[in-house]
Symmetry: D2
Subunit: 414 residues, 4 copies
């Protein structure tokens, strides 16, 4: 064992899992193929803090194949898949993670990652970045660059940058089009419906589904709920998005009005207290509440608790609240991201998009770190575009190219 894991004997089970993911993330394979000869990561030490899942394994393997030495900690004490960790260990990745770490152990493992004095830092939520900046400045000073997977992490890093304290350039993988759109719209769109079906076992057709928020996530959910036969109502605070929803064929009204007619409510706003006491009190007996926003603050659980006389679990992930007014409301997954809680989160195809950006951004840093300043960068447009190109190639889909004449015509417009 090169790192610290729980079940080295599960390596084989982990391998099969990872192979399934690998098969459905073929762009990663295409990128590896492209760079296998030149091995741009040869001799590079990569410190990573990511959810240790089958999809992450595909990324980490790719980094290793391109020459890097990788040390990996989990980015959440509860999300490590021990069989996947075992498999990675068996092929020489230094994994420091297991499911059920204590908080102390979690940060201890992150520190273990800093020990290899990484050239590149890959993070999901910025705990590793922050640890380096706060406790291991001398190591951080020598980092060539980093990447960050999440919105939250990007915000933390921008705060660091604004304060003039960021010690190396970071690419915000989160902001790539091929991450945000695919992930939010198509990934969350499907997996939210999936999560609700698993949690409730109910028929979507004929239900009135209220989607709060018509951003990327809300659009995806509304589109798929309609696709399963629901009547969909959209609520918004942005009048332009409201009209888009209307022209896309959805009804638009206030949450207050929607509260009276909805069967299933799904929040996707990025806001707090979107569904509140005053709405809950108007809901039909039996209404179902779910959230697909990042934090569990969109459905006000405290309001729900306050207006209820009792609660009980009626199915895995379904809590029944009996209100003072006698009605029952059903909260799914305690108001946490329903696609992660009750389903499997993003499909591997979606993680392929995200992790192709990771992989190419790392290679980009290696090639360009001398030109980069100590700030937070968006994924370069050429990287974003080439992610899409690798995906199309991997799926065998050919698209057109501009002719010379067309290129000139396009330029003449600028």
């Amino acid at each position: 064992m090169k790192g610290r894991i729980k079940h080295p004997e599960w390596a084989d089970k982990g391998r099969i899992k990872v192979e399934w993911a690998e098969r459905h993330m073929p762009a990663i394979g295409e990128i590896v193929k492209k760079y296998l000869k030149t091995k741009p990561l040869e001799g590079i030490r990569i410190g990573a803090c990511l959810h240790v899942t089958k999809e992450t394994a595909v990324l980490v393997k790719a980094l290793q194949q391109l020459g890097a030495r990788v040390r990996l900690a989990g980015s959440n004490p509860l999300t490590t898949q021990d069989d996947v960790a075992a498999y990675l260990d068996s092929i020489g990745i230094e994994v420091f993670a297991w499911r059920g770490e204590t908080q102390d152990e979690y940060f201890e493992m992150i520190k273990q990652v800093t020990e290899i004095k990484p050239d590149i830092v890959v993070d999901d939520g910025a705990d590793l970045h922050v640890t380096l900046h706060e406790e291991k400045k001398e190591i951080a000073e020598k980092v060539l660059g980093g990447t960050e997977e999440t919105t939250t992490g990007v915000i933390r890093l921008k705060a660091l940058s604004k304060a003039g304290k960021l010690l190396y350039p970071v690419i915000a993988v989160n902001n790539a089009k091929t991450k945000t759109i695919f992930d939010n719209k198509y990934g969350t769109g499907q997996s939210t419906i999936d999560g609700i079906m698993r949690a409730t076992s109910l028929l979507i057709a004929g239900k009135c589904v209220v989607v709060c928020g018509y951003g990327w996530v809300g659009r995806g959910i509304a589109m798929r709920a309609k696709g399963m036969g629901a009547r969909v109502i959209v609520t918004e605070v942005d009048p332009i998005k409201a009209i888009e929803a209307l022209f896309d064929g959805f009804e638009v009204m206030t949450i207050e009005k929607a509260a009276e007619v909805g069967d299933i409510f799904i929040t996707a706003t990025g806001q707090i207290d979107v569904i509140r006491e005053e709405h809950m009190l108007k809901m039909k007996d039996g209404a179902i509440l779910a959230n697909s926003g990042h934090f569990n603050v969109e459905v006000s659980v405290s309001d729900l608790e306050r207006i209820s006389v009792s609660k009980r679990k009626v199915r895995e992930y379904v809590e029944e609240y009996t209100l003072k007014n006698g009605k029952k409301l059903y909260l799914l997954g305690e108001g946490r991201l329903i696609n992660l809680v009750a389903a499997e989160g993003h499909p591997p195809e979606v993680m392929m998009c995200s992790f192709s950006n990771q992989l190419l951004s790392i290679i980009y840093i290696i090639k360009n770190h001398e030109k980069l300043e100590r700030k937070v960068y968006n994924v370069p447009e050429e990287v974003d575009t080439s992610v899409a190109q690798y995906i199309l190639k991997a799926w065998g889909i050919k698209i057109d190219e501009l002719t010379e004449k067309q290129k000139k015509y396009a330029e003449s417009w600028r």
Copy 2:
């Protein structure tokens, strides 16, 4: 304990399950409310052989509330939910069923049901009907009438009837519009997609889904796969259905051609050997095979075995076959009904339709048995229609009624 069950201590867990189903099958409650005063089943003995699930419990409770004494066996040795059985036992239903019965035990329990000398016989697959006709003729002779839930059961009973051996009238609940259309199109449509998402964890959007058969089931699947963002190809043997598929926006081609481009194949034909060796050999590496037809004969598993050099399980319900040509194909749920194998089968709303037909057909028999002959009847049109009426009422949906003038106008056309 009034019958024979395994875990009487699980009654409370079962009760919570049944309450969830009850809430989502409100038409049953409406029917009970309608008949609660007159109790048309007072003093009636009902022998039933059904899957002992939360939805069945709702039906059985309704029969009891309307005055009947009910004795229940499971209609499959592996499908009994022991907690539901315990709950039914706790409220006075005589249940003879547990998960994991041997074949002998299974038939022994069916015989236990005959012991109460039922006035009405409710069956799912006709094992109880056949047992009565073959081994308990003297009891069968006195039965007022029966119902049958499945296509298979109806076929067996029609054979009995044709041979002049049917001893009591049977209503083929299976053939009601409110059973067949809702169950096949909307129920199987959703649950098939659900089953495939659970089994594979993959993104449906962007996949090429090939649906074999454009009957009710195929229509439902095609509609929902499209709704989740797939490109859908339909294959058919009936030229009229083929054109309907085309006009509904789907591509239509032979399975042979579709084999070359499909990512996911779903059979829904009621036929055997729909996907065969010659098709499998043309499929893309990584293609996925699933079945939503009643029997596991639509994807030829024997062909698949024959052309493969090895197989292994890569996920729960996903078997990887490595073909002699080097490609890998993935068979879901061993070619069995994927919505039952990998998801939860029909949502309670769909079972409400089916079981409302059961309940009203039983009441119909009680009221009309003297006029009925010893043959297999379709559900009377008035029952079929009133099922829909109860459902609309339960959901609070009002529709129009013909005015007197319109009734006359309609008659003038006939």
Copy 3:
């Protein structure tokens, strides 16, 4: 000139029109190709009464190519396209029709058709059939058989048959699946939306469209209105269809409720007085009323007139009614079939379906007239199916065929 037409000099213009139709009705060409050698209509005299349009021309040409002598009258004094008539005349069809015939001229032309002593009688509305039965019995007695295109015509002929007065067998082309489904659902579905867009110039997206009736026509309209971005409400009197609408993703309510929220109302019920005074009074200022049912009785124009203080034409096919309550309602095409009034009726592809049934039914009568009785027959299932086969062939679409093993399996079920 062989018959009586108005503008023989327009033949060339007519030819171009017919060629466009011919190109988009290729199944007719396929059928002709099949029978060109054997010429089953050689020596047969066909008397026809049909709308003289480019699509009818394609049918009539086909009859001629297969050996028939055809004499054609128009089936409505106002629908003859004089250029098409001229072209048909120029190729030897005896046409007796022009746009703007008087009522007397119209029936005189029908009588002209009877003069050739037809072996086969082809009709659209049954005026020719009835004329033969009432005024030319001696000719009717020798007719081998006839066909009828419309619901109305079939009703008239069934009345004749019931009274024991039908003098030759008639095939009700109207009742073929490949006529009814394709024509009503897909043909009327598209052309109704087309007609409303042309009449109003308005955006469908974001509108609330109320579809009254969820039969084949209503389904087609609801599907296409949704496809253009409308929110669709369905009203019904049949509870089963109401639930189908619900599960297809539409809202279902009474017309009374829908009246308050609809922007555009479309009737497709086959009933009278579907939208009445009490509904109109509740409608929003500016609501639009259209009909897609066969007769102009679905929107009660007399009610609308009664509750209005004035009316005026605001666009071609749009009449503005100012109600006593001050609101304005807009009636399209005087409540007549909006797809015919404001658009071009059925696309040629749809007429191909209908007229392939005509052509094959005529050949069927020639081959089987000795076995046929003097009654109204449905289109034989084999004809219906072969129409679909010819269409698929013409479009180059191949479908599967049952293997021998599958045929046996199918039989084993019966």
Copy 4:
């Protein structure tokens, strides 16, 4: 007569047309209502060069109601609706336009507009702006500001600005979200399908429609073609858009491949020579070519001419080309914008969006001209948003507002 028009006697007919548009552009009325008391345009001279249509009339009336003196020329010699011009004249607008102006007359009328020494200049294509800059500098110097409706016009003005020659600030109405998205996606989406149906009379269902380009316009067309039952193929040069199309359920391939299978081709790319000789030669006999891009350069008509042996008109707006290879291709509307050529262009609801931006931008200039520099501005975000708010208000649609707590939460993220 205050200006120069052709048919003053048509004023009444024009009035009815404008009333229809007014009813369906209610946001304009809302804005007028808001500003009617303060009359912010009192004493302001507005010189406008716009297509003289019923929708433009609604804008011009609103300007007048808010106090402005308006002088209007047509922005194209062929698009003036003479009845609308007559009506505007009858209510005191100085109109200098008629259908069928010569090129000289056209520019003469534009000069007439400059004569009033406008404070505000409203233009569609920038001919008026350019005339002022080139020939009437002394007048241009005193202009407070201008607006521009089109992409082309914005490009011309930006060139002026870049050269340091722009004499007053201009707001690029074209770039507002409430203009671009609604106009391109929903307006062109619907009207393109409308135009193709009118031009061809064909059934969309079952056709293979190839949409070249998946920008806003292409998305709208693809969405609506699918909504009418077509199988839709998308071609793109941008790999990210290509994957979006794929995940939205469309097939993606090169034009070369699509050429072999498409029935109807629609270009919407903004590029030249998108469909070229090499593609045309591969197309199926009977394929139909249409364009929805701004210029008629997307389908290479010169290529089509070169590879053809003959052409003829077969329907209004349908030209049949017979190729040397014997196949026939059908070009709609000579490759010009099919929604304008064969249908009525944008519905009034869409013009309401665009013209609300015009109206509010003009008021914005009046209020802020002292702060504005001589450059091209985007529509201020607050104007864009308030357009959407006026529309929602006019349609009676209420949406949510952020609570104080939510506003703080939103700020805490920045």
